[in-house]
């Protein structure tokens, strides 16, 4: 340890005036406001250029030091016509490209990039957005080359690259704009149409001259037309599609309701009839659009994280080629390539860290945004953000093989899959659609005999009032919200029905090592047996070699192994490991396993034995996670029964149970995986619904057997977990939070379904008997849809009493 610190000079080097990093070989340059110190010629050059260009304000406004400027990079690849064609759009003589610019995180950076580019010849327009780190650049290829402009950005220390999912971003933006336009037109039009309808309503005594009345009606018809046909186009298009496929659904009902109300009103206007229902048509469209917009926003909040997963792997990467750096598309990287990633950038591939340790932010996969320190030799994951300093890594998995891509694919596959409950609700809604149409027809027919002029409005009112829109929204809205909230907590839902099962759980079973504890055991004590012919360090080294072949967390306690791998290595879950070293059989594990003449009982220690004779006794302990106690308390407060199943020594399991506050009688140690499985099955036979929380490495079967399972996944193993939910971060308290969200979602779904069905049933007789006009019916129906969507927003809202 001392060696690592010893090399540091006594006085810290001055910080670079541009990038803030220590200037080990300081360069001094004199500026208008005095001398400045720089770490490298790149930074000095950038600062000189910034000052000479009159952009010195950058240094006053920036909120963090600038990016360090590396060696000159080659962007010539960007000038190739196929690159341009693939990634930029021609706009007459000009071209337009959307760039992701690494390191551009604050408004001052965006300002600097903006100004710097505008100074270049041939640049027509620049829009730099610091929030998403994107620059939209329009330039004239006749006057300049794209590589020159990118070079300009790079010389300021920012790293231009292609956004990973341009199509997805574009599609999302267009979709959002379409929705906004529809909603705006519907809102403005409905406001006007309602105003004119109001004038007609207020004429309660029928004293308005017919000419005035008809004029008002025609104006209303004209204003509501764009609402119905432009803003309402999604419904009408949906109706056409559904009718073409002969599966009448929600849109058929909405579309026909709106069209009937509008056309019927136009006919009445022409005929000079007593009543028009333009108000019903516009209200129907406006409120349904509002409900859909809300639902889309709800979904977007959940999917933003998933899109972040998909877009996190940058499209371009810097690869070392000899002593040069070349920028290549990330998918052209191969295993073994050495890749360089600058501070603030995302890793383009999984890889082993080289040279120095680094701080990386793995929030994307773990939800934990505090950067973690990684040591050389550790594997970093694609999509992690690099903090402070450039890292070099050797690629181990690229493109679709990265952990990130695998997780994104699993989550993406699940996105298409609908939970059974949502399916049931939709089937029900579909059946209700048929019933609604029949009911409306029957009511219309009945009234045609009773009071013919009222037949149409009453049939229309029934059609609109009984529209099961709320029913169709009830489940998807709640599930989208719950998954979005869970994603924000760092929990990925991987099982289609996992939320429902999670909500019904009444018992939580924890694995111990790596779940309740950090899974980073430390070696507390080494005691050599009498007559041992080696010293403590040698015993530890032997133990490390024996454990090297094993992925058990305890292995880490003995540190890294050196020397050849052991022969005939064997692993005995719940017992220990064995192997042959220098011709002798060594065993490492609990006393009963390692020693030929083991004392009765289990002392909780780990023994190292040669040919059954004790050599050393290790005391290993593993600290509980800092929030284990709080998590246990929260789960207990939620009314759950808790248990621990562990392969570890009973004495240690007991001690841990006491420390975190779990009843010792439910904590069982020395269980083999089969024993854990049997315990879970026994609980289930008692009628308990079991949530198993494990680390997912040694307990895959147990996780699969439980009613629902959560894996504490950190880092590389994330993609392989076979659990219903994966907890990305190291926070155990998230289990309680996930449970709370699942339960709330269940409650909200029940409320929503109950409300939607009760509303439709209650409104039906009133509409059929002619007590509710089409306008009121539209209002009620739309408000009921808004109510279920708004109700879904409540899921996962933090309550003050829950978070004191």
């Amino acid at each position: 340890m001392a060696g690592a610190d010893g090399g540091r000079p006594a006085a810290a080097p001055p910080a670079c005036a541009h990038c803030g990093e220590p200037a080990v070989a300081p360069l001094r340059a004199v500026f208008d406001d005095g001398p400045r110190v720089f770490c490298c010629p790149g930074c000095a050059g950038a600062a000189r250029w910034i000052a000479d260009s009159g952009l010195g304000d950058y240094y006053r406004w920036r909120s963090a030091p600038g990016p360090r400027i590396g060696a000159d990079e080659d962007f010539a690849a960007w000038d190739r016509s196929e690159t341009l064609d693939a990634h930029s759009e021609a706009e007459g003589e000009a071209r337009c490209i959307r760039l992701a610019v690494g390191g551009m995180h604050c408004a001052a950076c965006a300002w600097l990039v903006d100004k710097a580019l505008r100074r270049e010849k041939g640049v027509l327009d620049v829009r730099a957005n610091a929030v998403d780190g994107r620059v939209v650049l329009r330039w004239s290829p006749a006057e300049t080359r794209l590589s020159v402009l990118l070079q300009r950005i790079a010389r300021l220390g920012y790293r231009p690259s292609l956004p990973a999912s341009a199509e997805r971003e574009d599609a999302r933006r267009r979709e959002r704009n379409r929705r906004l336009l529809g909603l705006g037109i519907a809102g403005l039009g409905a406001l006007q149409a309602m105003m004119f309808s109001e004038a007609l309503y207020l004429d309660t005594t029928g004293s308005m001259p017919e000419a005035t009345r008809d004029a008002f009606r025609w104006v209303t018809a004209a204003i509501s037309a764009p609402v119905v046909f432009i803003a309402g186009a999604p419904f009408l298009r949906g109706m056409v599609n559904e009718l073409r496929l002969r599966v009448p659904g929600m849109d058929t009902l909405i579309g026909s309701g709106v069209l009937l109300a509008w056309l019927g009103s136009v006919i009445e206007t022409v005929r000079g009839g007593p009543q028009v229902w333009f108000d019903a048509a516009v209200m129907f469209v406006l409120f349904l659009l509002a409900a859909r917009h809300l639902e889309a926003a709800l979904r977007a909040s959940g999917e933003a994280r998933l899109d972040a997963l998909a877009g996190a792997q940058p499209a371009m990467a810097w690869r070392e080629a000899g002593d040069r750096l070349e920028q290549v598309p990330a998918r052209e990287l191969a295993d073994g390539d050495v890749v360089r990633v600058g501070s603030g950038d995302a890793l383009p591939c999984d890889g082993v860290l080289l040279d120095a340790d680094a701080r990386v932010d793995e929030a994307l996969l773990t939800g934990e945004s505090t950067p973690r320190r990684r040591l050389p030799g550790e594997t970093l994951l694609a999509g992690s953000l690099v903090h402070g300093g450039t890292v070099r890594l050797r690629a181990t998995a690229v493109g679709a093989a990265t952990t990130l891509s695998q997780v994104a694919r699993r989550v993406d596959a699940l996105r298409g899959q609908r939970p059974p409950l949502a399916d049931r609700a939709e089937r029900l809604a579909r059946r209700v659609v048929g019933a609604t149409v029949l009911l409306a027809l029957a009511t219309g027919l009945a009234w045609a005999f009773i009071d013919p002029p009222r037949a149409f409005p009453i049939a229309l009112a029934v059609l609109v009032a009984t529209c099961p829109c709320a029913l169709a929204l009830a489940v998807p809205a709640a599930i989208a919200r719950a998954q979005g909230r869970l994603a924000a907590e760092g929990v990925l839902v991987l099982g289609a029905d996992a939320l429902r099962r999670l909500a019904e759980v009444d018992t939580v079973v924890f694995d111990k090592t790596g779940t309740l504890t950090r899974g980073e055991p430390t070696l507390l004590d080494v005691a050599l047996a009498d007559g041992a012919d080696l010293d403590a360090a040698a015993a530890v080294a032997l133990a490390a070699r024996l454990e090297a072949a094993v992925s058990h967390p305890l292995a880490r306690a003995f540190g890294a192994a050196d020397g050849a791998p052991v022969d005939a290595a064997g692993q005995y879950p719940g017992d220990g490991v064995s192997g042959r070293i220098d011709g002798a059989t060594w065993r490492l594990g609990r006393a009963g396993f390692a020693l030929a003449d083991a004392p009765a009982g289990d002392d909780g220690a780990i023994w190292l034995a040669r040919e059954g004779r004790a050599v050393a006794r290790f005391t290993v302990d593993d600290a509980p996670r800092p929030d284990a106690q709080a998590a246990v308390a929260a789960l207990r407060a939620a009314g759950l029964r808790l248990a621990i199943l562990s392969g570890d020594a009973p004495s240690r399991v007991d001690a841990l149970a006491r420390r975190v506050g779990i009843d010792g009688s439910t904590a069982r140690g020395r269980l083999t995986p089969a024993g854990k499985l049997a315990s879970v099955r026994a609980l289930q036979a008692d009628g308990r619904r079991v949530l198993m929380v494990g680390d997912g490495v040694n307990d895959a079967d147990v996780l699969a057997a439980a009613d629902v399972s959560i894996a504490m996944a950190e880092g590389a193993a994330l993609a392989q977990r076979q659990a219903d939910l994966v907890l990305g971060g190291p926070r155990l308290a998230t289990v309680a939070e996930a449970l709370r969200i699942a339960r709330e979602a269940k409650a909200v779904i029940r409320q929503n379904l109950g409300w939607a069905i009760a509303y439709n049933l209650a409104i039906l007789p009133a509409a059929a008997l002619g007590h509710i006009g089409p306008g009121l019916a539209a209002l009620g129906m739309a408000l009921s849809s808004l109510a279920v969507t708004a109700n879904a927003w409540r899921i996962g809202r933090r309550r003050p009493e829950a978070n004191p």
Partner: protein, 48 residues
């Protein structure tokens, strides 16, 4: 009631104008980024 002859067309014109402005606003990306423009104001404090 003759006042309606002016008021109704005026309201229609205003409606048309409002829709046109809204369509322009959405098309030109006014709603795309609601976070950066406020920061611009902070930056340009020297009347550059």
């Amino acid at each position: 009631m003759n006042v309606l002859l002016f008021l109704v067309p005026i309201s229609l014109l205003l409606f048309g104008a409002a829709v046109a402005v809204f369509v322009w606003a959405v098309r030109s990306g006014q709603f795309e980024d609601l976070d950066t423009p406020p920061m611009d104001v902070l930056g340009d404090d020297d009347g550059r």
